[in-house]
Subunit: 200 residues, 2 copies
């Protein structure tokens, strides 16, 4: 079943390893790259190597950052450094920043506590968070992990860990998503939305 030259077959296999890319799509992508001029292919390869070699973690918030020292958010004097928003993943920082609402800083855990997947507190960047909070100057820690079992467990764990330091620990509000319909909301969400109702 292998009628491609080996180098092309290898490229197809590399593409097929990516999540959500099947063998057919991988072939399409490989052929596309072959059709591109030499510089484009080189730029692609360089981008992969560059990203892999130059992206590291911010020593403060553990978010992805480039180069030495703190990331732009941690280094910004316009940010409120007394509020830390705890998220599971660098992608969650992007989502929060897109909302343009939050002015504090972040802490990226790089995962959630998940006994099923053998991920315990020591596998996450929890020690670094405890260190930041214990160093003082932090007033509030907002738990912004996902509203699922693992995200909840992680938020609970962190809440118990951090409260002794005398900081306020809060959780993002649950409720009906803006723009959605009540009839499509599941029971758990509706229950939480009722519990969290506010006076108008």
């Amino acid at each position: 079943m292998d009628y491609f030259p080996p180098a092309l077959e290898n490229l197809v296999e590399q593409f097929a390893k990516l999540p959500g890319v099947g063998r057919k799509s991988a072939q399409r992508l490989a052929f596309h790259l072959l059709d591109q001029p030499e510089e484009s292919a080189r730029a692609f390869a360089d981008a992969i190597l560059q990203a892999k070699s130059s992206i590291s973690c911010c020593p403060v918030c553990q978010n992805l950052a480039q180069g030495e020292g703190p990331c732009p958010i941690c280094a910004s004097p316009r940010r409120d450094h007394s509020v830390i928003c705890v998220v599971a993943d660098p992608k969650d920082v992007v989502a929060m920043e897109r909302a343009r609402e939050y002015q504090g800083v972040y802490h990226v855990l790089h995962g959630v506590i998940s006994p099923m997947n053998h991920v315990g507190p020591d596998d996450l960047r929890i020690a670094q968070l405890a260190e930041r909070v214990s160093a003082g100057g932090v007033e509030e820690v907002i738990m912004a992990t996902n509203p699922d079992t693992e995200g909840e467990t992680t938020a609970m764990y962190l809440s118990r860990l951090l409260k002794p330091f005398g900081v306020k620990v809060t959780r993002l509000a649950y409720g009906i998503p803006v723009g959605s319909h009540l009839e499509f909301a599941d029971e758990a969400t509706l229950t939480r939305a009722m519990e969290g109702r506010r006076e108008m």
Copy 2:
């Protein structure tokens, strides 16, 4: 809207340039690669450069090949070199080979005649085909371009070009696809299927 480190942003953009990959998918793929070990990322980058630098065209059939000299199909003594199947694209060779029916050799045009896209006969590998046929030893040329307007035009053009050399020029049969339903076949296909009916 740009909260990624530059090297990561660059990788996301490179992925987003691929056909059928939007910005969201590109982010997912870039994050996936970042999560991979150094060697995997390097293997991916190498595969791109390798494919680009080592894949060339077979000097005989113009199909994609690796290294110097004719491709494995053109070099095979078990193939019938008196029959040439003309296809538009290297992917079509793969499709034909998958059917395990054809024992002749190929000629890849690398496109079809398309005045709309400013592709004329001189932009395709037609001269090389004429050369192969005029060199003698070819008995039949099978037109296996796609059954659309451009594929038809190309097949007609080649047919007129090659017949003076005294070769038989044939066209793949049109008809109802195997396993499909008559009720879903369009009028043009049904008309062609009627025209091409054979005695049982």
